[in-house]
């Protein structure tokens, strides 16, 4: 089974440290997380009213991010998700690329594996390049991130709302202890809307 890349090799960044660094010095950022480890990583970095955690709806994180980014153009929106979750919503990159909201950044934590289901290898471990897909879909910027010292720049780029962006961060394929945020969908939704000053109904 030859592969051209194997994002799941040892040597990738630590996912928890990566997410903590991405969410550091947070001001007006709105965050949507893809189900599974990305949700736990964001919770581990510190719970926040303006985190919308997915526990299901696989493939939907980026599109929730699009609807949110178009509704809140003055605020940066970060979608943090995994390679498997983004692969299920690959068409969404085309839909988002056609709209190009300048305040949306999608960051894929890519370990080349489906971590939640027993670490089966994903397409990105078999040569599929999500950054290339994002570029082909017209994202203003799209990059591979492989070093910890690139994270602060990525964070700043998203905060500045300088154009529709995509990053694939190569992380180690490990399974850190779970940190579980609320899984009450109504509460997470209502809390988010209250956090933006909207009534819950």
């Amino acid at each position: 089974m030859p592969t051209t890349t194997d994002a799941g090799q040892a040597g990738g960044l630590d996912r928890r440290e990566t997410v903590r660094a991405l969410l550091a010095e947070r001001t007006d950022l709105l965050v949507v997380t893809g189900l599974g480890s990305s949700t736990y990583d964001v919770a581990a970095a510190g719970d926040h009213d303006l985190n919308f955690y997915l526990w299901g709806a696989m493939g939907g994180a980026a599109m929730i991010g699009l609807g949110l980014a178009l509704a809140q153009p003055q605020r940066p929106v970060l979608v943090l998700t995994g390679d498997g979750e983004q692969l299920m919503g690959l068409g969404a990159l085309a839909t988002i690329g056609a709209q190009r909201p300048a305040n949306l950044g999608i960051v894929v934590l890519d370990n080349g594996h489906y971590g939640e289901t027993g670490m089966q290898r994903s397409h990105t471990a078999m040569g599929v390049d999500l950054v290339g897909v994002a570029r082909a879909c017209g994202f203003a910027w799209a990059e591979h991130v492989e070093r910890a010292d690139q994270i602060a720049g990525l964070r700043a780029r998203i905060a500045r709302r300088e154009g529709l962006g995509f990053a694939s961060v190569r992380i180690a394929a490990n399974d850190p202890p779970r940190v579980l945020p609320s899984r009450d969908g109504v509460e997470i939704k209502n809390r988010f809307r209250r956090g933006l000053g909207f009534p819950t109904i």
């Binding site: 299901g56 709806a57 939907g60 929730i64 609807g67 109504v186 939704k189 809307r193 933006l196 109904i201």
Partner: protein, 176 residues
């Protein structure tokens, strides 16, 4: 009824209902039956209309819009309803409001057999996921049904699908 079914004004009335109710995102997989609505939404500066690559994207977009304080509507054809099933768990789990307007195929004077299975399964697919289904056969009540769906979605936190029947939309022309 057949006379009213062929008058096009109801499509404009539906659009004006969306306008009046401050619908700000109009997300769609195109359908001939929605073409006037889509064209008018693109021409309306207060609305952001955009196409989806598959219908389930629209379910997620509607949720994101609501998180960000905007009302939206999802337009699709009956053949796309099955694509939405798992994504509709967002509505059941989080009680996101949903208004989706669905043009029906495969139920009346249909030429293409491939439209029939999903057309027939459309109400059941929605109901399976807890979305309430209303059907419009008469153009005279179309705008009012859309208004009621918006009231129920944004007033009572419900997920509502309004099906525009194939008879209402009229026969598709196959010869050209």
């Amino acid at each position: 009824m057949s006379a009213s079914a062929t008058t096009p004004e109801w499509r404009d009335q539906v659009f004006e209902t969306l306008q009046r109710n401050r619908i700000e995102q109009v997300v769609y997989v195109p359908d001939a039956g929605h073409s006037r609505l889509i064209a008018r939404a693109h021409a309306e500066p207060a609305m952001r209309a955009y196409p989806l690559s598959t219908e389930e994207e629209g379910v997620a977009a509607v949720c994101g819009a609501w998180l960000g304080g905007q009302r939206s509507v999802l337009l699709m054809q009956s053949s796309g309803v099955g694509n939405c099933v798992n994504m509709l768990s967002l509505m059941s789990n989080c009680r996101f409001p949903l208004v989706t307007l669905v043009t029906m195929r495969g139920e009346w004077a249909e030429f293409n057999p491939w439209q029939v299975p999903m057309g027939r399964g459309t109400p059941a697919a929605f109901e399976l996921m807890g979305v309430q289904v209303r059907r419009v056969d008469d153009s005279a009540v179309a705008a009012d049904e859309v208004q009621a769906a918006i009231d129920d979605a944004y007033g009572a936190d419900q997920a509502i699908a309004v099906l525009f029947s194939q008879r209402l939309l009229g026969r598709k022309k196959w010869e050209r």
